[in-house]
Symmetry: C2
Subunit: 65 residues, 2 copies
């Protein structure tokens, strides 16, 4: 399968936010809904700073405040 | 490999923009640099409207103007 893990970068640290992400959809502004291959959904507020699909990695920078 | 194809949606049509995308990096604002697994780089101006990794699809909506 070709899912990726989503990480949130905060204060220079990358924290795993959701594993096995299939779908990334913007909701509004810098808010995205992530859906994993298991159907789990989580919402993240922040900007995408890097996606590397071959490395199975999506990195978000957390929105301030 | 877990790359995806990038499409640009314009006037309701999806046009293939770059095949086998590995890395997606924002440059500034709504501008992204895409790098394929073959090392080909292309820049796209627009918003990400949908990514479905299992379907190997990243869709951008072209910026107006």
């Amino acid at each position: 399968m070709c899912e990726a893990n989503a990480y949130i970068s905060k204060d220079g640290q990358e924290e795993l936010f959701l594993e096995a992400v299939d779908v990334v959809e913007p909701i509004k502004g810098d808010e995205y809904r992530l859906t994993s291959i298991f159907g789990e959904q989580k919402t993240v507020k922040g900007k995408i700073t890097l996606m590397s699909l071959v490395d199975h990695k999506i990195i978000f920078e957390a929105a301030q405040g």
